[in-house]
């Protein structure tokens, strides 16, 4: 995934689909002839069409912008979007001491990055980087509404439209450009602060750091933004975003809580079943069936996360590039293997151990892919190996609890639970320490959320597994074994809930007032 997009394309790899005139024409027939692009230069304010090794980009002149937000309104009018979806936004940064105060504005649509993380993550290939213009385009028809791109973009550019069930984003008014018309934002700007330029890709790759970064903007390193930001010559050293103290919990994504916790439970259970079968040759047929059912519920629940569940199968498409596709693929294979394994256990056929091993391997790979996909640039709190560890720890803990139930509380399984508990506890501790100690706004913001509005949840997340542990000495009694498992699942459930709601997305600075509230 690390190789730069254009290099890959030039190397002839097929990992990235680079839109050609043909594919573009088929994507949105209304756009019609790309050949019209040749006329782009005819309007004096538009530059010549990009040549080989070049692409279009936005030029934003912060010294001219007065924060009037005409671009925001013009963009919404152009695209017919409702008011809660803004493909172009204006944010504020501020610094200095009165009367030498400076407040500046950032106006941002899509940055049409050289290495668009929205594109690389997309499981259905809904994104393409236009071969002629470098514009990162999105096809609503191809999109299944998984919203993975909204996590992957560190600028918060793609936005999910619940009315449509798909994501949408700024395409630099592609349809206008090919007709020689200026994009709506640039055309509306009374201060001439937004322009379209042609950039030489190779040069930009060398020098983007000085011109693509700005206070109030996430690092351009994530995806190599192409937007050229003209900064004022002198900015106070403390210039920064004005929305820092404005934190609020993110969406909980309940289907994904169900999906991740239950897949991990199922994988943990199958692992226990497999191990017990290998060592004690007990088939645990009913347990396998229940674990299989849990996996099915998890996979079914995951489709409810999609804006277009009917097209869920498309998510398999980009397995060579997207961790989301890989997750779906691996869990699908896991489900097949688990079905076969359960069937073999019921029938009592030979080879069950091998099938069990396969199930467990696929399951652990699935959990790993599942965790890996959360390592998204736009979600700094997730973007750490600890996420992998966290998901494994859940799998281990819930698996150990299952083993405890299946062995009627055998001592070895109690130690397994104790070990897994320790593993999970250390992981949680490390994660909290990472957040608490960080100076990165998004990470420390997560810590602030966890310790203020989410503090009760955090307390539960820690107390529940402890209760489970306290019940462990009573594991000889069935109700205590079940209770341990239930409490442990509850703890992990709460942990996953916090995982989703406590993340502070990386984004461009916003205005001071949030939309919610009074």
């Amino acid at each position: 995934m690390e190789l730069p997009l254009l290099t890959r394309v030039q190397e002839g790899g097929d990992l990235f689909r680079l839109a050609t005139a043909e594919t573009v024409a088929t994507m949105t027939p209304a756009d019609g002839a790309v050949g019209l692009l040749c006329g782009a230069g005819s309007q004096s304010r538009l530059p010549h069409p990009p040549g080989p090794g070049e692409q279009y980009r936005f030029h934003f002149d912060m010294t001219k912008c007065i924060g009037c937000k005409c671009c925001v309104v013009a963009c919404n009018e152009q695209n017919g979007n409702p008011a809660d979806i803004l493909w172009r936004r204006v944010g504020e940064i501020e610094g200095g001491v009165y009367p030498h105060t400076q407040r500046h504005y950032l106006s941002m649509g899509c940055n049409h990055c050289l290495e668009p993380t929205c594109l690389t993550g997309c499981p259905v290939d809904a994104y393409s980087k236009d071969g002629l213009t470098g514009i990162v385009r999105h096809s609503a028809d191809a999109c299944i509404g998984c919203q993975y791109c909204t996590w992957n973009c560190s600028y918060g550019v793609p936005q999910y439209n619940p009315e449509r069930g798909v994501v949408g984003k700024c395409d630099m008014c592609y349809g206008r450009l090919v007709r020689g018309q200026e994009p709506a934002c640039a055309s509306a700007c009374p201060e001439d602060a937004i322009r379209i330029e042609v950039v030489k890709v190779a040069e930009w790759r060398e020098h983007y750091r000085t011109s693509a970064n700005s206070p109030g903007m996430p690092s351009a390193d994530d995806s190599i933004s192409t937007t050229h930001i003209q900064l004022p010559p002198k900015m106070p050293g403390d210039t920064g975003r004005v929305d820092l103290s404005c934190l609020r919990p993110e969406h909980a994504h309940s289907p994904l809580i169900v999906m991740t916790v239950l897949t991990q439970l199922s994988v943990g259970a199958f692992t226990s079943i497999g191990i017990l079968q290998a060592f004690s040759t007990q088939p645990h047929r009913t347990a396998a069936l229940i674990a299989l059912l849990v996996a099915m519920i998890a996979l079914a629940a995951s489709t409810l996360h999609l804006g277009r569940p009917i097209h869920a199968a498309r998510a398999l498409k980009m397995w060579r590039r997207s961790w989301l596709s890989r997750e779906v693929l691996l869990f699908t294979l896991f489900a097949f293997a688990a079905t076969a394994y359960s069937a073999v256990l019921w029938i009592g056929m030979r080879g069950a151990a091998w099938l069990g091993l396969l199930t467990v391997i696929l399951g652990i790979c699935g959990v790993s892919a599942s965790a890996r996909l959360y390592l998204a640039p736009g979600r700094p709190a997730w973007n750490s190996p600890l996420t992998l560890v966290e998901f494994w720890a859940t799998t281990a803990l819930l698996g150990a609890c299952c083993a405890s139930i299946l062995t009627l509380g055998a001592a070895s399984t109690r130690y397994a639970v104790l070990l897994a508990f320790g593993f999970a506890l250390v992981t949680t501790g490390l994660k909290l320490a990472r957040l608490a100690r960080s100076r990165v706004h998004e990470l420390h913001g997560s810590w602030q959320l966890l310790t203020t509005v989410l503090s009760t949840h955090l307390l539960l997340r820690i107390v529940l597994p402890c209760v489970g542990l306290a019940l462990l000495p009573l594991a000889a009694t069935p109700w205590a074994r079940i209770a341990t498992a239930v409490v442990m699942i509850g703890g992990e459930w709460m942990g996953r809930y916090l995982f989703f709601v406590s993340v502070v997305p990386s984004n461009m600075a916003s205005g001071y007032l949030t939309q919610e509230g009074a």
Binding site: A30, I66, G67, C68, K69, C70, V72, V73, N76, E77, N79, G80, A83, D84, L86, V90, E94, G96, Y98, P99, T101, Q102, R103, H104, A140, D141, C143, I144, G145, E163, R164, G165, V166, C173, G175, R176, R179, Q181, A184, A188, P190, E191, V242, S245, C246, L247, L306, G307, R308, P309, I310, H311, L449, T452, G511, Y512, L513, Q515, G517, A518
Partner: protein
């Protein structure tokens, strides 16, 4: 939604492709299909006084999109965010649709005949009982000029009350008074083009980047300028400045007087211009004696050297421009401050030339129209009540005996309200304004309205805080639904056209005025043969002929063609319709002796100084997304999304002392009342000791705390400074 549709949507088969499709529109280009229009109607924006030319796209009887008219000389196709979303105001949920009469405490729907009959009967009954002047009328700056002209005649001559004023007294009357005193007449002398040609531009109390963003385009075009901004708050405009003067609240008059003194002391004035075109130089010079640099520095908080530098920059400029808005006008010393700025322009000869003007940037889209053609503080055509010749002239034009023309103005807006509190005004007719949010010290206004026998509110929106108190609500057409003209700040008259019909039974104000006149029995006398605004316009052209605001050469056709004409425009000047025009280019002023007056002025501290109980100074103002009391912009979701509620700006030093955190909800308390649960913004935009609150929001109405202090000359309220204290709200909203 049908089950099949719901399933299609939820399953993802239907992604609303047609709603989110794009098409080619001949005017807009490639755009959202929903915005493509069948026809385009040229008009002028109905928000502020910049007066941007617009085109309204109509499809299926709805205005589906707007765009800036690329050929209009004011804005060349650009619009501010309010303008870009203006079409949504037409279909806003809160539009007034039917006449409503209060019966048993409830507003109930009635028909127009009954509404007009009831209105005339009730108002006449009050006038019969308490005298003709017991009727007060408060209008707006947002009707078309034709309506102002008609309304003035109807009120002054039909109803026979002089107690008629506009809400323009809340924003522009100070500029009017200042111009009248200095130059002998109202009328901003310059043109927007001056912003492109001035080499020094001094903006005092004018945050044009927030309030008149399209004017900033002119600043941007002028690369050679030195922009000086004087404002106590580091506004968006201040941040554009080459020199920012962070003066203390209400110290502008001291600053200008010190500048005048330096210019005279160092002999940087235009002696020729002074001797040929002004009177009062010696008195002015004598009056400036106290305003040494040190004295002004002490009052303004600026460095003495900075004041001198500013004065010399201004005086040495080839063409220097002074622009001001509410920072100056909203003050008990406003008129004098305007006179001081005029003094500065006059003694340096910075008037009547390209780039050189003392320029009041107006507020509402047609505040200028009511100043020219209204019948409030003067007789239409900038005629004076006191002037016998003016009265005779207008009587002749109207074929009326001169005795019918009042010999003095009636009560100004704040005095009408005081009159109602005192029981002298017993009935009120309020048009196109929302005083329940916009009038200072709102409790006084509430008392006034409680005292009335009958309240008529005529508005395009219902409910508003004001219509809710009415005995009779008359629903009107708004921008986009009626025809007429607006005059902008640079005296440019532009055409306003109807794109669609008003909702329900709403009618244009013009139609309502004629119906009221009919019912009063004065229609034939005052409005003979009139049926549409064009009739009023034609009479107004005759009435304005030969006056400073001469419209006689203008026609609707010509305006539609070139997008707006600056007055004076006589029938002889037909060829130069699109040329920029300035007043007083010949150095002759409309005073008795043809000379402008240099007027001594005296700085004084603002009326309510901070105290131990109320230690902070409250400043009020606006934000770009909203217009006045948000009757229109509050109903437009995109503007609401960008500016959802009010906030209070406070310097970190004060916040630290008060132990307040960002986003805390706070109470803003003055001697008169409080604003509750405003979100705190801690920022270096405001100086320590000062706080800033936008006034648009009825829910957190700044006028709960502003004071009843008015300019003695213009009667404009001192909205800008009052003493407050800040406390944390008790039930603090949870914020991380």
């Amino acid at each position: 939604m049908k089950l099949a549709d719901w399933l299609a949507r939820k399953s993802g088969l239907d992604i609303g492709s047609s709603k989110y499709s794009y098409s080619d529109d001949p005017v807009l280009g490639f755009t959202s299909s929903g915005k493509c229009s069948e026809r385009w109607v040229n008009s002028t924006c109905g928000y502020c006084s910049v007066g941007c030319g617009m085109q309204l796209g109509v499809k299926d009887g709805r205005v589906v999109s707007v765009r800036g008219n690329p050929d209009h000389p004011v804005n060349l196709g650009k619009l501010c965010p309010k303008g870009l979303a203006e079409h949504y105001a037409i279909e806003a949920e809160g539009r007034a649709r039917y006449p409503l009469l209060r019966r048993n405490g409830q507003l109930v729907r009635i028909n127009w005949d009954e509404a007009i009959r009831t209105m005339v009967e009730q108002l006449r009954a009050v006038q019969d009982k308490y005298g003709p002047e017991s009727l007060g009328v408060i209008s707006t700056g947002q009707l078309v000029t034709e309506e102002f002209y008609t309304l003035g005649k109807l009120v002054q001559l039909g109803f026979g009350t002089r107690n008629y004023d506009g809400n323009t007294t809340l924003c522009m009357s100070t500029a009017v008074s200042g111009y009248k005193r200095s130059f002998g007449s109202d009328g901003p002398p310059g043109a927007y083009e001056d912003l492109e040609h001035a080499d020094v531009i001094l903006l005092i109390g004018a945050n044009i980047a927030e309030n008149h963003p399209i004017l900033c385009t002119r600043l941007e075009a002028n690369k050679a300028k030195t922009l000086i901004v004087a404002d106590p708050r580091v506004t968006k405009t201040a941040m554009m400045a080459d020199i920012y003067l962070s003066l203390k609240p209400r110290s502008d008059l001291a600053l200008i007087n010190a500048m005048l003194r330096i210019v005279i002391e160092e002999e940087r004035y235009d002696a020729n211009f002074i001797s040929s075109h002004t009177t009062g130089f010696d008195e002015l010079r004598a009056s400036l004696e106290p305003y040494t640099l040190e004295y002004a520095a002490q009052i303004t908080g600026l460095e003495p050297g900075m004041i001198r530098r500013t004065a010399l920059l201004y005086a040495n400029a080839n063409a220097a421009f002074i622009g001001w808005t509410m920072g100056v006008n909203h003050s008990t010393k406003g008129t004098e401050t305007v006179n001081a700025m005029n003094n500065l322009a006059l003694i340096t000869g910075n008037i009547g030339r390209q780039g050189a003007s003392p320029f009041s940037i107006t507020g509402q889209c047609n505040a200028m129209g009511t100043r020219e053609a209204g019948f409030t503080s003067g007789i239409p055509g900038y005629r004076k009540f006191e002037d016998e010749k003016d009265r005779q002239q207008i009587a002749d034009l109207w074929n009326l005996p001169v005795e019918r023309i009042p010999t003095g103005r009636g009560l100004a807006y704040p005095d009408i309200i005081e009159g109602a509190v005192a029981g002298k005004i017993r009935a009120l007719w309020i048009l196109g304004t929302n005083p329940l949010v916009s009038f200072p010290n709102i409790d006084v206004l509430k008392r006034a309205l409680d005292n009335l026998d009958f309240l008529v509110v005529q508005d395009g929106f219902h409910p508003t805080p004001t219509t809710e108190l009415a005995d009779l609500v008359l629903p009107t057409a708004i921008w986009g639904e009626k025809e007429g003209t607006y005059t902008n700040s640079e005296r440019r008259v532009s055409k306003v056209n109807a794109a669609v019909a008003p909702p329900g039974e709403a009618r244009s104000d013009f139609d309502i005025f004629l119906a009221v006149a009919e019912s009063l029995g004065c229609r034939e006398e005052l409005f003979p043969g009139w049926s549409d605004p064009g009739d009023a316009f034609n009479e107004w052209r005759r009435v304005s002929a030969g006056r400073l605001c001469d419209y006689s050469g203008m026609t609707y056709e010509l305006m539609n063609e070139i997008g707006g004409i600056q007055w004076p425009f006589t029938s002889e000047a037909l060829s130069g319709a699109s040329l920029p025009r300035r007043l007083y280019s010949d150095g002759i002023f409309p005073t008795e002796d043809g000379r402008a007056r240099l007027l001594p002025t005296q700085w004084a501290p603002f009326p309510e100084q901070p105290s131990s109980e109320f230690p902070l100074i409250l400043n009020t103002g606006r934000t770009v997304e909203h217009w006045h009391t948000r009757t229109k912009t509050g109903a437009i979701s995109i503007l609401q999304r960008m500016a959802p509620r009010a906030w209070l700006e406070m310097n970190p030093k004060d916040a630290q002392q008060l132990r307040l955190q960002a986003h805390d909800r706070v109470e803003v308390i003055s001697a008169r009342g409080r604003v509750s649960k405003v979100e705190l913004r801690i920022t270096e935009i405001v100086a320590p000791g000062q706080v800033f609150l936008p006034f648009h929001f009825a829910e957190t109405n700044a006028n709960q705390i502003t004071q009843s202090a008015f300019d003695p000359i213009s009667r404009e309220p001192n909205y800008k400074q009052c003493a407050v204290r800040i406390e944390k709200s008790s039930a603090n909203a949870a914020h991380a």
